[in-house]
Structure formats: C-alpha cells, structure tokens
Amino acid sequence: MNARQGFIGQSVKRREDTRFLTGKGQYTDDITLPGQTHGYFLRSPYAHATIKSLDTAAAAAAPGVVAILTGEHFKAVGGLPCGWLINSLDGTPMKEPKHPVLADGKVRYVGDRVALVVAETLEQAKAAAELIEVDYDELTPVIDAAQAKKIASSVHVEAPDNQCYHWGIGDKDGTEAAFKTAAHVTTLKFRNNRLVPNAMEPRAANASYSRADDNYTLYVSNQNPHVERLLMCAFVLGIPEHKMRVVAPDVGGGFGSKIYLYGEETALVVASKMVGRPVKWTCDRSEAFLSDAHGRDHDSLAELALDKDGNFLALRATTTANMGAYLSTFASCIPTILHATLLAGQYKTPKIWCEVTAVFTNTAPVDAYRGAGRPEATYLLERIVETAAHELKVDPAALRRRNFITTFPYATPVGLTYDTGDYEATLSRAIELAEVGGFAARKAASEAKGLKRGLGYSCYIEACGIAPSSVAGALGARAGLFEAGEVRVHPTGKVTIFTGSHSHGQGHETTFAQVVADRLGIPMEDVVIEHGDTSKVLFGMGTYGSRSLSVGGTAIVKAVDKVIAKGKKIAAHLLEAADGDIEFEGGVFKVAGTDKSVPFASVALTAYVPHNFPHDKLEPGLNENAFYDPSNFTYPAGTYICEVEIDPATGHTRVDRFTACDDFGNVVNPMIVEGQVHGGLAQGIGQAMMEHGVYDTESGQLLTGSYMDYTMPRADDFCHFTVETVKGTPCTHNPLGVKGCGEAGAIGSPPAVINAICDALGLKDMPMPATPHAVWQAIQNNR
C-alpha cells in the first residue's frame, strides 16, 4: 500500500501488535525501578464503620517494613476531586463530601483504603498489614440505592438522607400535559445492573521521587496522564504540576475504570517521597473487584405516552442512581448529562421530563464504564418503545420508523442537537442482515424442538466525541474537554505525532498514523505516534467517551494543516513562486499549473538547514501544535437486532444471532471499528445475560468478589456477530467526518437481548442479568 492510494478507509494491520504478540509490551507491573519497594493496602472489611483506633506499631516493626501511611498522613491535603458539579432542582449544589486518600476516621465500603504498608517485598508488606490493629465500630450499612433515602443510616454527615443531588431536565409541565392526552401509556420499572469493569490488566502504579531533581515520576495504568497529574497535583497534594511526570505506558484495557484519580496512586506518590525510594503497587483481581470504580446501577421508572396512531407524545423517566460511597472523578455527570440528554433517542418525541436522584451508599464508588450513562438511557428508551409496540400489537420496527427523526439538524427536548443522521438506513440494513423475514420459520423450527425463539430490536443513538468545553462547562464540568496534538517534522522528513489521546487497545499508533500519512502524502512508516507521557506530550484530556479520533484526531489534523501551510511558504521560497500559487498533494508541493515541485522531505530539510530560507517571514523548524475544542458532540447511531433461543426447562438462553448495523460516519480503519463493536457487544451482552456486581444488603459484603462468582463473558458464550457499518452520514463538524465507535456496542446491545428474551417468552419484562436461573424463574412466575 503506498501513499498515493490514501490510507483512510484501509484496514491497515496494527503495528502495536508486534510487541504485544512477542511479550514485549510494557505494562505498569512489568516495570522494575532500582531500589523499589512494594506497597500493599490494608482495606476495610466492613461496609460502614468508624475507626475507634488504629495501631501500626507492631506492623512497623515487622521484617522489611519501610513505612506505613494512614489517614493521618492525608488529613491536611485535599480529597480526591469530582470533576463535574451537578445542581439540584432547588438550586443547591450537589453534596460533595471529602473523598479521603486514606480513610479519615470512618470507612464507607468494603475495600475502603485504611493504610498503606511499604516494605522491601510484597510478601513482607502483606504480612505486616495483618499486624495493623484496627478497632472498628460497625454502623448500619446503606446498600440498596433504591432504599438509600429511607434507611436510618447516613454514609456522610453532609447528606443525612444519603441524597447527593436531585436533578431534572426537560419540560415537566409539558410532559405531564401530554400524558393527559395520551391514548396509550406504557410503564416499565427496572434496574440497570451494577457492573464491575474488569479490564484484564489490574490497576497498577509505581511512584518515585528524586530528591536531586525535586521531581516525581509516576507510572500508572491510566487513560489520561495529564488529567491524572493535574488532579493529583493541583487538587489533592499541592505538588507543583511541572514537577511531576506521569507515564501511562502500555495499559491493558480501561473501559473508563482507569480514567479516575484513585487514592492508591496518590498514596503511593506521598509514600515515595517519604521513603526516598520507588513504591510499586499492583492490584490483585479480588482487590480490583472491591476498589475499581463500578458501573451502571440505576433504578428507573419509564413511562411512554402515545397517541392512537402510535406517535410518541411524551417520555417521563425517573431514575435513582447509585454513586457509591464517594463521588468518583466523573460520577455525578454519568446519570445526568450523559444519560438524560439521550432520552430522545432516534425519535421526535416532543416532550420529555427526566428526574434523577443520586444517592450515596456503602458500596464502591460508581462512575463511567463503557458507555457511561448512554447504555442506561438506551436501555430505558429501547425497552419501553419495544414494550409499547408489543402492548399495541404493532411491529417494533414499524413503531420506531413512524417516530424517527428525519430532518437535521435536530434539536432534542433534552439539550442536544443532532447534526446529522439516517436512522432508516441502519434499520432497514439491519433487518436485511438479520434475515428478519425468515424469523417465523426459525421460530417454528425451534418450537418443534421444544425451544422458544425471540427477536428484539434496539435502535440506539449516542452522544460522544466528548465535548464542547463551553457546553460542558455550562452544564457543570470543571474541566475543558478539548484535545491537543503536536506534529514534529524531523529534518529528514520523518514525523512524530504527540497526541493527548491514549491508546489502551484502540490502535491509535496505527490509525492516527494512517490519518497523518494520508494527509501528508508520506509513507506510514515515516510517522510515529507518541502518547501517554506528560514529559513528551504537550497536553491531553485522554481517551474515553469515544473521543479519540473525533477530538484527538481532529487536533492532529489541524496541526498537520499548520505544517502544510508553513511548508507551502517554504516551498514557495524554494520554487521562487508566490505563496498562493503553491498546491500540496500526494506529499509534494508544486507551483500550480507547472511541473515545478519539491517533495515534503526537502521542505523539511530546508526548515532545519535554513540556508535558502525566507527568514524575513518565517522561523526555521517545522513543528506545529493544535488544540481542538469540538463544537458539538458526535452522534453515532444504529440498529441492533438480537435473536435468542431459550430452553424453557432450564432457562438456558443462547444468543443465536446478533446483527449490528451502525452509522459511524467516515471510517478510517474498518478492521479496528469492527473490533471495537465486537468488544462492545460482548460487554453489552455480558451485562444483559451474566454480569452482576452484587452486595449483600445486610452486611454490605461484595458477594461477587472474584471470577468465581462474577460471570465474565467467555468465547463460548457468543455466536458469530454480523457487524456492518453503513456508508452513513459523516459528522458535519470535524474535518474527518468521524463519529466515534468505541462504546456503541455496549450501548445498543442490552435492550436488544432483553427485548428478544421478552419476545420469546411473552413477558413484559426480564431483569438483567438474564441468567438461566432468572429466565427459568421468570417462566415459572408467568405460568
């Protein structure tokens, strides 16, 4: 493949594979620093308790122990911050109790950090931790979010009724009025089940401090090193930002769980200065279950009002969202800004009202997990729409079609303006690919074998490419959400790109190189992508919210265009032409209408050996950066169709077919996009059918605390997915026309699965996860 063909739209194989396939990846736990010590966290065994006393004397004297840190060491510094301020409907700001680095007199969830033991070996640290004497006074735990406000126990004194905020969006009165005129109202009450992210690489960090240079280095498995540094330095520890280097090297998956500033790496940084040696910590898997930010956990009531022809008149949604014991970095915006604003879906529902009550409970903090609020919104909407279709005995595709938005841009009643879309295109293509026409025959064949077969739709839309900073700021964000990119052209014409995006599986080292090589008309081998190191990369907000290509990629494109603009001026000088007469195409600068040209590499060399150079107009060198703040979110959308076959005797449910048809706008690397959809589908189907983070309501113990009890999707849980991206509607507001694809699979799939199960069994509802036992029970209950 050569530069003349163009790289956009090519399924270029990944260059990062070489190191991963040969065991040469460098994940945080792979790093060994000279003189390093090992850290181990003592964690609370109780969901809710005061610490009456904490005695580390015996532990401190144990073999190999170098230091022990407790809440005392962090009393004077800030708590872990929440980056999004949500105001309640009564105008009061959300409750923001301090989120201490190490517990400050009280523990609030099983796994809450109590102490950090630093020792020569991990075994010594673990042994010493057992010698720490903690006297706990147990308190009544608040576990069930739906009951949190009624339980006579407060997670935080600042929130006596455990309410963090009570927020709303939309037109309450208009919605109520519309319901009064409805010919039909469908109501559904359900829970969006708590999930544990389970990236395969557990969280890890290795912190060190150099007295000689008075600076810190933190290796951490993280999705956004600059944000990590800013939060830790400016908001918690008061360390000058320019004196810390944060490196997120190879990261083994994130899915949101590695966005946040956690207490672990913060404590490690303080410990590393105290002991004067690196301190390394790697999370155990059972530790990760307790301490990684969990996802989802909404209780919702959805009501849909329709007229006699099946037009949606109004949607009302009431959600209780579990924040967990403390506000994690983005927790507050997940059930509000990233959830309620998607409740129009693909439909022109004129009136919407959504109320969200966020509560504290004595469980692990809950924050963004692949989809972050949009799976919850899509589940709510696509379940109620399909349920309405069944109640009205209308084809679910026809009911949706009737209500599709068809003119763009479209301003929804819940704050977003969709720039473009074609929902009919993905619906009809999905129906074709899913062979819906043959469903009746397949159903009959299943029934002949004593099995039930069902089909379910999900027409999802999501808002990603996060986010326009001024919009985000107006909605309570305490950060900007732009992205940064730098293009360094070397004297020999090779290019290094520094991107604020972070690749932890997304393949940016390949796809971003495609974009740059395509735009500069140079071979892909001449472009290298650097990310993840605050010492190298100018700045970045990081990778999450399916934003890397649309926001990070656009920043790079803008920087590349600055390079081209400067290159044209250099070329004009070399070719003795006017700046305006220079064209750039296929890696070559030429004088329009002539064959006088000079290749990119020559212009690069001239920039760095500026003998024949317009010094009166230009500086030497060829290095440009750009910061790009998007003007809108992007709106990928599509239709997913799921077909299940159920054995009513056992409740065992098999996904027999799954069809995903998406509009992601322009596609840079189809192979990568397909892989992202596959991964998202696995997580979404996993949520629908098997995954569930469960706490015992009496004791607050995490019952699903390891892979023994938390069902992770495996290869034999899935059929072959049929995945297709339609030509679609390119995003109108970024130069690549891309929408982002990383989360769609996890967003669109759960309702398709549950809709299919309900269809198969003639049920109005099926709680997630639809395990064999749950399905069997539902069948019994329905007899």
Binding site: S11, R19, F20, T22, N198, V251, S286, A715
Partner: protein, 155 residues
C-alpha cells in the same frame, strides 16, 4: 530456598526459589520475562498461560518448584530466533485478534496448544477450547478467526 534447574525458552538455567513461589512469579520476577501476565487470583483468566513440557498450563496455578526439570516455553520463546513470528502470532496480527494485548500472550499460548492437541475444525470447537482465557476487549470473534487461521498455517 530450593534450587531448581529447568529449560526456559530453550535455555538451561538454574535458580534459587522459595517453595511458595508460583511459576508465574518465577517467570516474571526472577527471570524478568514479563510477557506472561497476571490477570486474576483464581486461576480463571488464562493470561498466565505458558507451555510446560509442550502442554498449556496456567502458570499461576503451579509452583516454580514443580517445574524442576521441565521445559517451559513462554510467549517470548514462541517466535523464531531471527524474529520470524510463529504462524499463530502472525495470524493474530492478520486477523486483529488483539486490542490492549494483555490477554494476548496467554491466549496465543493456549491457542497453540489447542490447535496442536485438539480438533479445531469449526468455530464452536475453538470457542469451547478457549473458554479458559478471558478477553475483555475483542469480544472473541477475531480471536476465533485468528486461531483458525493460525491452525491452517501450522499444518
């Protein structure tokens, strides 16, 4: 401390280990071969899969002392000495069978064993054969494709 003597990736070596040291710890920490990964603590994720005497073993589920006298191959020992990828490694690249790469060494080692010792003539057999290896990124579809492609190339 016990001294163990074994062959790792074709090299004979001898090291002192504590009796409770897991094989995966020996590989990662003593030998500094960090390609083999630890993804769980209940021997269920498969990220630690290596070959011991030609068979796939979860190295977190075996003590280093149990590898006395054994031939161990880790992901670092799969490619040829000149760097030419093993057909299974090449197949994973060709089929986009990896994303973050963390499960990949274990997945590839399991795949090589699966294809060498079991019937892999259809997707279902491959899926069942890989049920001891978790992946959170790929959704498994391209892994299945990679394993079948690798199997064909290994014939």
């Amino acid at each position: 401390m016990t001294t163990i003597t074994l062959k790792v990736n074709g090299k004979d070596l001898s090291r002192d280990v504590e009796p409770q040291t897991l094989l995966v710890q020996f590989i990662r920490e003593t030998l500094q071969l960090t390609g083999t990964h630890v993804g769980c603590d209940t021997a269920q994720c498969g990220a630690c899969t290596v070959h011991v005497n030609g068979r796939a073993v979860k190295s977190c589920n075996m003590l280093a002392v149990q590898a006395q006298g054994a031939e161990v191959t880790t992901i670092e020992g799969l490619a040829a000495a000149d760097g030419t990828l093993h057909p299974m490694q090449a197949a994973f690249n060709e089929c986009h069978g990896l994303q973050c790469g963390f499960c990949t060494p274990g997945m590839v080692m399991s795949a090589v064993d699966l294809v060498t010792h079991h019937k892999c003539s259809n997707d279902e057999q491959v899926r069942e054969g890989l049920e001891g290896n978790l992946c959170r990124c790929t959704g498994y579809q391209n892994i299945v494709k990679a394993v079948r492609t690798g199997a064909a190339a290994m014939k």
